[in-house]
Amino acid sequence: MKIKLELYGASREFSEKDFLEFDLNEKSSINDLRNEILNFIDKNFKGNSNFKKLVETSKFCSEENNIISDSYKITKNQKIGIIPPIGGG
């Protein structure tokens, strides 16, 4: 499955574009996606510990704009947003 990961906040440092693309196995979960992003950080940013911590503490948002848990099964190609720790106002 093709996942377009939309980047927000500090995760925008992961790419010059505002998204990353991942190819996941069928029935992957958000936890699997999180691990793929961590692998991406290892490969592209020499395991940058700040980036990895950011991924570990982020939530994710479905194409339907719901916050989804780590066990959420991804069943189709879709856009998913990474929601790093927040701090507006």
Partner: protein, 152 residues
Amino acid sequence: MIHAKIIDVSKEKISLTKAQKFITSNKCGASIYFVGTVRDQNDNKKVTGITYDSHDVLVIKSFEEIYKEAETKFKFENTTVFIEHIKGYAALGETSIIIAVTCKHRAQAYEFSRYIIEEIKKKTPIWKKEHYENEDSKWLKGSPLIDKNQLK
């Protein structure tokens, strides 16, 4: 009644006049305006501006949910709330957020307004990148989003 919006500063301006027009009501005797602005210092660094990023759909959803929660919690009658937050760059002293609240009585208006800003800090997906005098910049750490009700 609520008005909730993200203002993209590259296209329009955030405005107190708009807030005032929206919340004016003869049924209420108290209005509170909370205005968040960019200040010049954070963590002993001289700040020159902040870039705000947001997940627009989730932000609006979050503002509306916070308003509903406040209505349920306080049970005040005839409340009107106006919330706008910017996205994009704001220089020193510029406004990042306006929360305008009108209620029957002043104690209610203070309480309602305070509740809304505190919940926004915990629940609304908005991020800040601070810009400093030495031309350096940094995304602020923030706190993990609290959104237990929406977990699926």
